[in-house]
Symmetry: C2
Subunit: 134 residues, 2 copies
């Protein structure tokens, strides 16, 4: 196991939020990846562990892990467990650009409708980028 032994990642459910359980799991893994709480090689809770801990059906955990696996964020190994993958997501330039276009376009429409201008959004992102490079 490439990752260091450490406290296992914990999921938390907000049943009042209306967000499907499997989606909450996905979002939490993604958040952990983006924030560095999860690192390459880290092991995620097993399907059964998570199911017991969250009092849900194992197949719901499977659903989340499967989607994360398809995204290339994690790797699942039958008999072994589920691990944060190397994140070497090699994607063709055109396909990748298209996805970026899609995500930014969608975000812009949403932020625009909430009254924000592109310029202030960029400003905010640049501030985050500065903080990140410290």
């Amino acid at each position: 196991m490439a990752g260091k032994p450490q406290r296992p990642f914990r999921f938390q459910l907000d049943l009042a939020s209306g967000v499907p359980v499997y989606r909450q799991i996905i979002d939490q893994v993604r958040g952990g990846l983006a924030l560095g709480t999860l690192r390459v090689g880290d092991q995620l809770p097993t399907v059964r562990q998570a199911a017991v801990e969250l009092a849900i059906n194992p197949n719901t955990v499977v659903r989340a892990y499967r989607e994360l696996d398809l995204l290339g964020a994690i790797e699942t190994h039958q008999g072994t467990g589920t691990f944060v993958s190397a994140q070497k997501v090699e994607r063709g330039g055109a396909e990748r650009q298209r996805q970026l276009d899609l995500m930014t376009g969608e975000f812009l429409a949403r932020a625009g409708a909430a009254g924000f201008q592109v310029e202030e959004i960029i400003g905010r992102l640049e501030k985050i980028a500065k903080r990140k490079s410290i």
Copy 2:
């Protein structure tokens, strides 16, 4: 009517995209607002016009307009029509900043999980901003 008379906003459907029709309508209105294609006071196609033009049921248009109305993006007047609202979303600076933080943070987590870096996202947004100012 506060807006200038001009060509009515047109919706376009992409039935192959898998995105629900009503959502496409919402997204297109929001996109129009963000890009300035739609301005305060502009009238949107009536429920029946849009339904006929898009070959869909009027209630599907109603669904979209209702959600946009709830968002405060438009105002619907029974017997009159549907208009882009004043968008005078008065929000305190701190509250507004907090929402911007929330939206950008969420977007970053998602984009980060998909493998994009802040810098390329900013680049993309700047390109859009340039196009807009032409």
